[in-house]
């Protein structure tokens, strides 16, 4: 089943599908900015991660798992989830190697090239925020996928068709 088929057995109507094709990129971009600018504005890894997860969830909803499987499956989600967590810890360990756990090894010197309230002003916080964003996003997506696999059994006495 391709996204080009006007109405496939899986997914929703082409109205939803086409809209999804347009807005997903926007949603992801938005989530990314929220993650990246988390140290300057409210938001950060967690909020951005939720939004990124939502974007993937939208793909799953609109196209069904057959197509969504090309983007993400439960397995890949959990892999990226763990990778992100490892990366987060890695940032901490890099700081550790530099002297202290979670030491901001990228923090610019007071009079440095980087200015306050800009993307790179926060040093390693940016990296950890990114890692958190990915962690949260993929974690939630994993949860969503895991839950959407669920097929409730009919309760007894409910079997009338």
């Amino acid at each position: 089943m391709t996204p080009h088929s006007p109405r496939g057995g899986s997914g929703m109507t082409i109205i939803v599908k086409s809209t999804t094709r347009i807005v997903t990129a926007f949603i992801m971009l938005f989530g990314t900015t929220i993650v990246l600018y988390g140290h300057v504005t409210p938001g950060g890894g967690f909020a951005g991660g939720v939004i990124i997860a939502a974007a993937f969830a939208l793909i799953v909803l609109a196209f069904g798992k057959t197509l969504a499987g090309r983007f993400v499956t439960g397995t890949t989600a959990s892999v990226w989830d763990s990778a992100a967590a490892t990366a987060f810890l890695f940032v901490g360990v890099l700081g550790y190697l530099g002297g202290c756990f979670f030491w901001n090894f990228l923090r610019p010197p007071q009079s440095g090239r980087f200015t306050l309230f800009k993307l790179y002003s926060a040093g390693s916080i940016l990296l950890s925020n990114t890692a958190i964003g990915m962690k949260v996003g993929m974690g939630l997506l994993g949860v969503f996928l895991a839950l959407s696999v669920f097929r409730p059994r009919r309760e007894e006495g409910e079997g009338h068709e």
Binding site: T75, S78, V79, D81, S82, A83, A85, T86, F88, L89, G92, V93, G95, Y96, G99, C100, F101, F102, W103, N104
Partner: protein
């Protein structure tokens, strides 16, 4: 030495994150197991290394100081708990290598296990109230997952009930932390202690204390907050049961409770009475329920409640002694705490040992119902030997370690003038013995049912895991004087520093 401190959290956390990455293939799963095992060894090495000095250690994460920064603090109590945790974790990990072969998704298993270890270690080393909560939740959530790992009826049911009750506990802990923060404007435990030290009791503090007692009491499964434990602990895979009963309820329950009551809030007469009552109640109710069980692991679960009762009882009476209304006799309180903490250490060893041997029996014989087992002494000699060591230890039979801790507790209770409680402790010891006599008769002795005629001894890794703990149980008693000198008395002493002393030791003014 301070520098290795964050590793106790970071290493297992890293392994926890990496394991699911590895666990996608059969080979990856064994890689994950090896990684976890390596971390287990490293963990133990670090815990041992922390004993090279007896000084209190503080580590400030990211070079930030309080109130923004988060600290890790190590004193005698921390050292004791860390050593206990890593010892049991190592045994459980060694055991898991063979035990978990029959499960799928072991990558996830090792991941959750490592996260649980990270959470527990975090709870133990953190010097910050909110971080305590966070690590508590990390440990709890991974344990919820591990309890449900078998994904059968009972496992899911147990995990759900555990989850609901555990969440309620966490909720009140968080509320308590919020209240303390509101009162003091601090989250660093030393600063909170410093701020609370000067003032008398007030309503808000009382409420916070009640919330802590309830929340951590729930994590420690004290009666009447215990109902989840007999469901949850038996439902997990055996090495996890060993971890849950052996160390998790102690790290996230008793340790946190003792730390807050003694070092942060300072023991008041009311706290002490409540602790004592909870301990005594748990001790008695737990053992009665255990006596009536025919499911080996459930029986062990109820015994955990009962044995936790001993620990909390000892700590509670120590708090009574140290409270403003008590005699303030530090030697007596020290003896009580020594008994309680020694029992904590011993219980970690023998209860984990028992859970591991129950797992070994269950895997080899296919059942954990006492009535379906029998004559295992001849079929599985090593497992039976370990099981018997554990049973005799928990029953307080000399020369095993459990005898000595119970001895100290009973004598100390009598010295504190708590005649009735001493009698109760002795009575519960008796009931424990009776219950484990039943276990030995029905599992180790007696006729082997025909169905189990072909049962063989468990594989070597499982044996080794059990033997590690059996050794601790065997040597813990005779070596008590040595253990007391470097492990237990410093731990008791750190609880006796009181709030002011704790604040002086760990407040950021003393930091970098």
């Amino acid at each position: 030495m301070t520098n290795i401190l964050p590793l106790v959290v970071a290493l297992p956390l890293g392994a926890g994150f990496l394991s699911p990455l590895l666990g996608k293939s059969r080979r990856g799963e064994s890689m994950a197991a090896l990684l976890a095992l390596g971390i287990g060894f490293a963990n133990l090495a670090i815990s041992v290394a922390l004993f090279t000095t007896t000084e209190p250690l503080v580590y400030w994460i990211g070079f930030w100081n309080a109130p923004v920064g988060i600290s890790m603090a190590v004193d005698g109590l921390t050292r004791l708990l860390l050593l206990t945790t890593s010892l049991v974790a190592l045994a459980a990990l060694v055991f898991s290598i063979a035990y978990m072969r029959r499960f799928t998704a072991t990558g996830l298993y090792y991941s959750l296990l490592m996260l649980m270890v990270a959470g527990m270690n975090g709870v133990i080393v953190t010097g910050d109230l909110f971080n305590l909560y966070v690590f508590l939740e990390v440990a709890s959530i991974s344990s919820y997952g591990l309890v449900a790992f078998g994904t059968e009826h009972e496992e899911l049911e147990a995990s759900f009930k555990y989850l609901i009750l555990g969440s309620i506990g966490s909720l009140f802990i968080l509320l308590g932390i919020g209240i303390l923060y509101n009162l003091t404007g601090q989250l660093n435990m030393a600063l909170v202690a410093d701020s609370l030290a000067g003032r008398g009791a007030n309503r808000a503090m009382t409420l916070a204390a009640a919330f802590f007692l309830m929340g951590f009491g729930l994590k420690a499964a004290l009666v009447p907050f215990h109902a989840w434990l007999p469901d949850a602990h038996p439902s997990a895979p055996a090495p996890i049961s060993a971890m849950l009963s052996g160390v998790l309820i102690k790290a996230s329950g008793v340790y946190a409770l003792a730390r807050i009551v003694f070092n942060v809030m300072g023991p008041s007469a009311a706290h002490a009475d409540v602790l004592t009552a909870l301990g005594a109640l748990s001790m008695v109710v737990g053992v009665f329920l255990a006596v009536g069980q025919w499911d080996f692991k459930r029986l062990l679960g109820y015994h955990s409640i009962s044995q936790m009762g001993y620990i909390v009882l000892a700590i509670g009476v120590a708090a009574q002694v140290m409270s403003p209304r008590g005699s303030g006799d530090e030697a007596l309180a020290g003896l009580l705490l020594f008994g309680g903490l020694f029992h904590l250490f011993n219980h970690a060893a023998f209860k984990s040992l028992l859970f591991l041997s129950s797992g070994s029996l269950e895997q080899q014989a296919g059942t954990r119902m006492l009535k379906e087992l029998g004559g295992m002494r001849r079929r599985m000699p090593v497992t039976a030997f370990c099981c018997r060591i554990g049973a005799l230890s928990i029953a307080g039979v000399p020369p095993f370690n459990g005898f000595f801790s119970k001895l100290v507790i009973v004598v100390a209770l009598a010295l504190a003038g708590k005649w009735l409680l001493a009698a109760l402790a002795v009575f519960v010891a008796m009931m424990t013995l009776v219950s484990f006599l039943k276990v030995q008769r029905t599992v180790l002795e007696g006729e082997t049912p025909e169905r189990l005629a072909g049962v063989r001894e468990a594989p070597y890794p499982m044996q080794s895991g059990m033997l590690i703990l059996a050794t601790v149980c065997l040597l813990g008693g005779p070596l008590v004087v040595w253990l007391r000198g470097w492990l237990l008395d410093p731990a008791a002493a750190s609880l006796l520093t009181r709030a002011a002393g704790y604040a002086a030791l760990f407040s950021p003014r003393g930091g970098p």
